[in-house]
C-alpha cells in the first residue's frame, strides 16, 4: 500500500497503534507522546487494560492506542489476540513497533509479525543509550534500507528521539515517506506451499486478513485462523487442507525459525559488536539477585523495604488527608447550621467519613503503586518472579504468581487483576482464588487497630499468629484446589529477565497517576457509597442504631455470632467487611459512634486522643476473646465486593465466584469460632 493513500483529512484524528514486546520502553514512549492526555479503560468486552491518549503535533491531532505488550502475535494469549485483531480489524493509520536496540535480535521478532499485517509500520529503535554502553553499533540507515521502513533511533527515558518520532509520524500522515516493507521470506519449499494455500483460501478468509499472513498462520496451526478457515470452507476442502498441513507438524517452529533467520540476516548487516563479546558480563548484583540462596535474601530485603517505603509514604499522607477531612467537617457543620438534622448527620457522619476513608486508602494505594512501578521500571520485578519460582511451586503456583499475591497485601483487587501475568489458564484460576487469602492493607488496618488496642505488646504475637494462619490457609486451599478441583500440572516458567535500567521518574509518575485515578474512580466511589449506605441503614427508620434496619439484620444472625462471642453490632461490622474491608472499620465507628455525641468516623481516624477514647469505649464493650475472634474472622473473611467482582470478571465463572464466596464465609466463621475458644482459654 502506498503511503500517499494514508493521507488523512485535517479534521480527522490520525490513529496510531503502539506495539512491542514487554520491557522495550513502550509505556515511556506512550507517556512522552501523550503527557497527561491519557485515558485508561478496557478493551471492548475484554478484561485487558486499554490505554489511549491524544497528542497534537504541528497543528494536527493524533490518537495513540497502546496495544498490550506481547512477545509475538500468535493466538495463544488474550493479549496477543487483542493486538493483532486491533491492527487487522480496526486498521489504524500507522503502527509504531517498539524495539530494544540492546536486545535487537529477540525484540525484532514482533516486527517480523507486524510487518505482515496491513497497517504501515515505523520502527522505534529504543534504548540506543544502553546499546551504546554495550559498545553495540547499529547502522540505522542500513537497517532502514534492509527493512524498507522508517527507523527512528531513540532513548525515550532520556527524552531523545521523541521529536524525531513525531516528525516521522507526521511524514507518514502526509504521505511524504516511502513505505516498501521487506517481509520475512520462507524457504523455497514453503513458497510453493503458501501459493497453494493462498489459492485455496482466497475468498474464504475475511477480506481484512492479508493472504500471506493467513497462510503462515495456517502453517503454524494458529487456533483462530484455523477456526475461521474451517468454518468457511467446505468440509471436503478442509479435509484436504488438513492433510496438506499435517505434513508440517512443527509448523510453529518452522515459521519462527524463518522469522529469526530473516532477523539474523538483517542484524548481521547492521549491528557491529566489539570483538570477543558474545555474552555480556553479568553484574555481581544480578548474579546475587538470581542466586538460589542470596536471591531470596535480596528479594526479602527489597520487598520489606518496598513495603516499608509504601508505609512511610502512605501513612503520613493518609493522616494528612484525614486531618483535611476533620477541617472539612468542621467547616461543613458551621455552614450547615439551620439545615435539617438528618441532612447534617448524613453529610458529617456518612459522607465526610466515607470520603476520608477513600482518600486515606488512595494515598496508601498510590504509595504501593509507586513501589511497584519503580521495581518494574528498573527491571527487578522479573528477578523477583525468578527467585520466588521454587517457593511458589510448592504452593502449586509459578514464580509469576508471587507478585500478584504480594500485591494482594496492598489490595486484593489489584492482586486478582495482577494474575494476568500468569499465562496458564488453570494456574491463573488457582491464583485468582488464592489471592483473597492474603490480608490486604485494609484488613491489616482493622485487625492491627483491634489487636494493638486489646493486646498492646502481645499484638506482635497476634500478628505472627495471623501470618502463620495465612500461610496455612494458602497451603491447604491450594492443595484442596489442585487435588480435588483444578487438576493442573505447573504451568512452568518461561520468562525474560530484562536488563537493568535507571528508573525513569516521569514514567513512574505516570504509572502511579493513571492507576491512582482509576482507583479513586472505582474503589473510591464504592467506599463512599458503602459508608453512606451503612449510615442510612443504621439511621433509618427511627434515627436510632438500636432499632435500625442494620440492627435487625445483625440480630437475625446473632446465633452464629454467639459461637464467636459476638453481638449484633460486631456482626454488622463483619458484614460490612463483605462490602469493603475499609467499611468494616468505618461501620464500627458509625455503629458505636452513634452512641456517642462525637462525630463518628473522624473520631476513629483523626486525632490520637479521640482515637483512644473510642478504643476505650470498644474495650468496655467486648472481651479479649471476642476481639481475638473478630480479628481472625476478619482475617479469613469473605472477599470484599470489589474483589468478588474482580474474581468474576477474571474467572468469568459464576460457579467459581460463588464457590469462593461460600468457601471464605465458612473459613471465616470457623476461624472466628476457633479463635474465640482459644481466647476463652487464654484470657
Amino acid at each position: 500500500m502506498a503511503a500517499s493513500e494514508q493521507t488523512a483529512p485535517d479534521d480527522k484524528s490520525f490513529v496510531i497503534a503502539l506495539a512491542g514486546q514487554p520491557n522495550t520502553g513502550k509505556s515511556t514512549v506512550f507517556n512522552r507522546l501523550t503527557g497527561s492526555r491519557q485515558h485508561v479503560g478496557n478493551w471492548p468486552g475484554k478484561t485487558v487494560e486499554q490505554k489511549t491518549g491524544n497528542f497534537r503535533y504541528a497543528g494536527n491531532e493524533y490518537l495513540l492506542v497502546d496495544l498490550p505488550g506481547t512477545y509475538s502475535l500468535t493466538a495463544n494469549s488474550l493479549e496477543e489476540r487483542i493486538s493483532r485483531s486491533y491492527i487487522i480489524e480496526e486498521q489504524p493509520d500507522l503502527v509504531i513497533a517498539m524495539v530494544d536496540a540492546s536486545q535487537l535480535e529477540r525484540s525484532l521478532y514482533i516486527l517480523s509479525e507486524l510487518i505482515m499485517l496491513p497497517a504501515p509500520v515505523i520502527l522505534a529503535l529504543n534504548m540506543m543509550d544502553v546499546a551504546k554502553e554495550q559498545e553495540r553499533k547499529i547502522d540505522v540507515n542500513a537497517l532502514e534500507k534492509a527493512l524498507g521502513i522508517k527507523v527512528v533511533p531513540m532513548s525515550a527515558a532520556r527524552n531523545q528521539g521523541v521529536k524525531e518520532l513525531q516528525d516521522a509520524i507526521a511524514e507518514m500522515r502526509w504521505g511524504r515517506m516511502q513505505y516498501n516493507p521487506q517481509k520475512p521470506e520462507f524457504k523455497e519449499e514453503f513458497v510453493l506451499l503458501f501459493k497453494d494455500i493462498k489459492k485455496k483460501i482466497a475468498g474464504i478468509i475475511p477480506s481484512s486478513y492479508p493472504a500471506d499472513w493467513a497462510a503462515v498462520k495456517l502453517l503454524e496451526g494458529d487456533s483462530e485462523v484455523v477456526k475461521v478457515v474451517k468454518e468457511n470452507m467446505q468440509a471436503k476442502e478442509w479435509t484436504k487442507m488438513e492433510e496438506t498441513l499435517s505434513h508440517y507438524p512443527d509448523g510453529v517452529l518452522l515459521a519462527a525459525e524463518s522469522r529469526y533467520n530473516w532477523i539474523k540476516e538483517i542484524s548481521e548487516k547492521v549491528v557491529s559488536l566489539p570483538a570477543g563479546t558474545k555474552v555480556p558480563l553479568r553484574s555481581k548484583f544480578d548474579r546475587a539477585a538470581t542466586h538460589p540462596v542470596w536471591g531470596n535474601f535480596i528479594a526479602l530485603a527489597i520487598m520489606m523495604g518496598a513495603l516499608m517505603a509504601a508505609m512511610v509514604i502512605g501513612m503520613p499522607a493518609a493522616s494528612a488527608g484525614m486531618a483535611g477531612i476533620s477541617v472539612l467537617s468542621g467547616i461543613l457543620s458551621n455552614i450547615m447550621t439551620g439545615m435539617p438534622v438528618w441532612l447534617t448527620a448524613a453529610v458529617i457522619d456518612g459522607l465526610v467519613p466515607g470520603l476520608g476513608m477513600a482518600l486515606a486508602m488512595l494515598f496508601f494505594v498510590l504509595a504501593v503503586f509507586l513501589v511497584i512501578a519503580v521495581l518494574e521500571d528498573v527491571g527487578y520485578m522479573a528477578r523477583l518472579s525468578y527467585v520466588t519460582d521454587r517457593f511458589m511451586q510448592r504452593l502449586g503456583l509459578q514464580g509469576k504468581a508471587f507478585m500478584p499475591l504480594f500485591m494482594s497485601f496492598c489490595c486484593n483487587v489489584s492482586g486478582v487483576m495482577g494474575t494476568r501475568v500468569i499465562d496458564s489458564g488453570k494456574q491463573r484460576l488457582i491464583a485468582i482464588i488464592l489471592a483473597p487469602i492474603i490480608p490486604c492493607a485494609a484488613v491489616w488496618g482493622v485487625t492491627g487497630f483491634i489487636s494493638s488496642l486489646f493486646f498492646s505488646s502481645g499484638a506482635v504475637i497476634i500478628v505472627a499468629a495471623m501470618l502463620a494462619a495465612v500461610v496455612l490457609q494458602l497451603v491447604l486451599t491450594s492443595i484442596l484446589l489442585r487435588r480435588y478441583v483444578i487438576r493442573s500440572e505447573s504451568g512452568g516458567l518461561i520468562m525474560e529477565l530484562p536488563p537493568y535500567h535507571k528508573p525513569d521518574w516521569k514514567n513512574v509518575a505516570a504509572y502511579v497517576w493513571v492507576r491512582g485515578k482509576e482507583f479513586l474512580k472505582r474503589a473510591g466511589s464504592l467506599i463512599v457509597l458503602v459508608t453512606m449506605a451503612i449510615w442510612v441503614l443504621s439511621y433509618l427508620p427511627n434515627e436510632s442504631i438500636e432499632t435500625s434496619y442494620l440492627a435487625s439484620l445483625g440480630r437475625l444472625l446473632e446465633p452464629v455470632g454467639g459461637l464467636m462471642g459476638m453481638d449484633w453490632r460486631l456482626i454488622i461490622c463483619l458484614m460490612a467487611g463483605f462490602v469493603s474491608k475499609e467499611a468494616a472499620l468505618a461501620s464500627m465507628a458509625v455503629v458505636l459512634g452513634l452512641g456517642e455525641a462525637a462525630s463518628s468516623l473522624t473520631v476513629l481516624l483523626g486525632a490520637t486522643v479521640e482515637h483512644a477514647s473510642l478504643g476505650a469505649y470498644l474495650m468496655t464493650m467486648i472481651s479479649p476473646a471476642t476481639a481475638l475472634a473478630f480479628i481472625f474472622a476478619m482475617l479469613f473473611s469473605v472477599p470484599c465486593i470489589g474483589t468478588v467482582g474482580a474474581i468474576y470478571s477474571e474467572s468469568r465463572s459464576l460457579t467459581w465466584t460463588l464457590g469462593a464466596v461460600l468457601y471464605y464465609t465458612l473459613t471465616s466463621i470457623v476461624a472466628g469460632i476457633i479463635a474465640y475458644h482459644i481466647g476463652l482459654i487464654i484470657f
Binding site: 512477545y71 509475538s72 495463544n76 535480535e105 519462527a256 538460589p292 520468562m495
Partner: protein, 74 residues
C-alpha cells in the same frame, strides 16, 4: 541428544529439537528458542529454574520446560 538441563553454567550449545505441544513451542519460540540457535548457559544449579542467554537476551526457564529443549554441546 541431551536436554538443555545437562549443560553447566558457561557452556555453549545449539538447540536441536523442541518437544511438547504447539502452545509450548509457540511460547518458547517467541522467547528465541528455535532449531539451530546458539545459546550459552548462564546459571544452572541442581535445582530450580535455569538462566540461558540467547538472541541478545537472558531467558529464565523452569526445569520442566527446559527438559523439553534438546541440544547439542559445542
Amino acid at each position: 541428544m541431551e536436554s538443555i538441563t545437562a549443560l553447566k553454567a558457561g557452556e555453549t550449545g545449539i538447540v536441536e529439537r523442541i518437544t511438547g505441544g504447539r502452545s509450548f513451542i509457540s511460547r518458547v519460540s517467541a522467547m528465541g528458542f528455535t532449531g539451530n540457535v546458539e545459546f550459552t548457559m548462564l546459571q544452572n544449579f541442581s535445582r530450580g529454574p535455569l538462566l540461558v542467554f540467547l538472541r541478545d537476551s537472558q531467558i529464565a526457564l523452569g526445569r520442566g520446560e527446559a527438559e523439553k529443549i534438546k541440544v547439542r554441546r559445542i
